[in-house]
Amino acid sequence: MPHPTRRRLLAGSAALVAAPAIARAQTAGAVKPRVTVISQWSAGSDGAAITALGKVFEQHGGIWQHNPVPGFTTEMMNKLRAEILAGDPPAISQLKGPEIAAWSKIAPTVDITPWVKEAGFETKVPVELAKSCQPAGHWVALPLQVYRINTLFLSTKGMERAKLTKAPTTWAEFNEAAAKMKAAGMIPLANGGIRWDDGMKFEIALAGIDPDVYRRAIMQLDTDALKSKQVLAAFEQTRRFADWMNPNIAAQSWPVNLPAFMKGDMGMVLMGGWAQGNLLRAGATPADFSSGPAPQDSGPPCFDLNADCFMFWKQKAADLQAGQKLFAGIVMQPTVEEMYSKITGSIPARTDVDLTAEGFTDGQRNSAQNLRNAIAEKRVVLSLAHNMAQPNGITAAMIDVLTEYVHNSTITAAEGQKRLINAVESAQ
């Protein structure tokens, strides 16, 4: 073989550099839908669910590029902000509640109203959820799954140990049951000690006492509602919760309590519906626990709503635009929402999905029925601790007060109420 001269080397490398351009030119006509996604769901049942969604996307012929950001929602939002500032937002990002409205002002979004109308999706989701996805009057986001926050999980072994036969349905019954559990040597209430967990306990107490006061006080920040005796009663109930929690918990995430809960050393968990996913992944069988709505002092159980949505950011590349259209179509399908909810333990955002199918638990069916009833009777409220009711700044100020109250037993309920009112005023 003749030895490579410099001219031949130069010619050969020029050809190599040109080759991809030739290949690209040949496939320029066909645009494969591609989508770049960021979310906070990197592990556990959430991670498994988004991976399954990605597989469905790929089955429909798209390229799925998901970059999860581990941590709570704020870590994902930091990454999103960095990408927006760099001028390169992802095609799809997870966002929820009032953040959709706030973020839609800082970067251009895609108007997906035509796709939503085509799928007839608008009439199938709860009104509050639909409103949060249309900050300027047109759809920019799609809801994926809904969780009920005010859910009570009871350990079967724990109930036997404390000789309790039925789930408490009012706060008075709850207090009695907890007292019996404490007398039996158990820890009545499992909690982590992380901020949103503490804030969530307060909101479950208040929603259980009176959802109308919750709506006015927490969602509308009406000062008279914040000063009301229902809010004071909620603080007192939260103080009782704090007394029944494990005193040794120091800022650990709540799933560390799961083994004790399954064994019966801890009796009750007040948590959103995703706890079912956590429990099943931790090795529990549906016989180890029972779930139902958290205690409600008057009227039928309200529904404290937490929902995850996907937001669509305007893209220039044709393949990303095609990917967004394909993704929107997939996410609005009832079968896809069904599959997603089976893995995470949520209920689908579409209210017309049939949950009697295999793979759903009674807890989910009960939750979905609860949602339908609550929509009809206007007893749906939005979660504070999970960033649905208020934007981040106000939520953080209120949660500061609540988490301090839970961990410091010297703060009285009246003092806690005063601090909450001050926090709301100064955060606005």
């Binding site: 930091n78 992380i194 981040n392 500061d400 007060v401």
Partner: protein, 294 residues
């Protein structure tokens, strides 16, 4: 290469990185200060609103608790670390046999990141898992060491973990200082019949007091900047009782998405550092002037 080019290259090698590094810090500090006077939330906006962000931040409970904690933590951390470091240095100075090995062992904690320190200490101090449980297991059931979960005592756990990490550093500095004491002075003290305790108190420690100042300043600015230790050890809890200024800045800027208020908190942190370092700078100038005169 001609001599002129050599000199030019030297200048480039010094000035370019220096200007980039200094400019980077100065420019971004200036930008943050500017943003602190604007109503920025998720993204920076550039309209002037005066001191409103500062007033807002200083009124939050978060901030007030953080600065009270800073005073407690600052004094406690510096005092304990200095005391431990000095003690270890004096002990090591006694010409022990395994001095090199011991010195390395005492310096190891410094090589561990603050996050690891915080995590491991959070397990050790957890009443259900760590030292308290160990004491209960061996039979001493009356023992209580649950500072980590008490809102008014959790800050002391930070001091403990921080001192454990920083004592090696203080020890290294003090040891170098002790070794640099003039042997003539020591011999003179010995001849005068001074015992070891008096020698240390009256001769050695006064000689190395500039090292005290150095250690004090370095540890103090360590304390003001503490972030990862608190995040790993207590997460700011229980509740918000162990908040520190760096966490307040992070909370406002990233958790709450309020860039304006976060920048105001950051500028306040910078001011508190200046309050610490400016006297030190003045002191150094004063000493130099004294030495020049002497």
């Amino acid at each position: 290469m001609p001599a002129g080019v050599g000199r030019l290259l030297t200048q480039l090698a010094i000035w370019v990185p220096l200007l980039i590094a200094a400019g980077h810090v100065v420019l971004f500090t200036a930008w943050t200060t500017w943003v602190s006077f604007t109503p920025s939330t998720l993204l920076p906006e550039y309209t002037w609103i005066g001191l409103r962000n500062y007033r807002n931040v200083m009124r939050t409970a978060n901030f007030q608790i953080a600065y009270v904690n800073l005073v407690i933590y600052g004094i406690g951390f510096v005092a304990l670390t200095t005391a431990l470091g000095l003690l270890l240095a004096i002990l090591l100075d006694q010409r022990v046999r395994a001095e090199n090995a011991l010195r390395t062992i005492f310096l190891y904690p410094l090589a561990v990141s603050f996050v690891v320190t915080g995590t491991v200490w959070s397990w050790l101090l957890n009443p259900g898992l760590g030292i308290q449980k160990l004491a209960h297991n061996i039979g001493w059931t009356g023992f209580r060491f649950d500072w980590l979960v008490e809102p008014d005592k959790a800050i002391y756990t930070l001091i403990l973990a921080g001192a454990w990490q920083g004592a090696g550093f203080a020890m290294a500095l003090f040891l170098a200082g002790l070794r640099s004491v003039d042997t003539d002075l020591l011999k003179a003290a010995q001849i005068d019949g001074a015992g070891p305790w008096r020698t240390y108190r009256r001769v050695v420690l006064p000689t190395i007091w500039p090292i005290f100042i150095t250690v004090l300043v370095i540890l103090l600015q360590f304390a003001i900047k503490t972030f990862d230790l608190v995040r790993a050890l207590t997460g700011g809890g229980p509740g918000i009782s162990t908040m520190l200024p760096a966490l307040v800045v992070y909370d406002f800027m990233f958790q709450r998405g309020e860039l304006g208020r976060g920048s105001a908190a950051a500028v306040l942190m910078l001011l508190s550092l200046v309050v610490v370092l400016a006297p030190y700078g003045l002191y150094v100038r004063w000493r130099r002037r004294r030495q020049a005169r002497a």
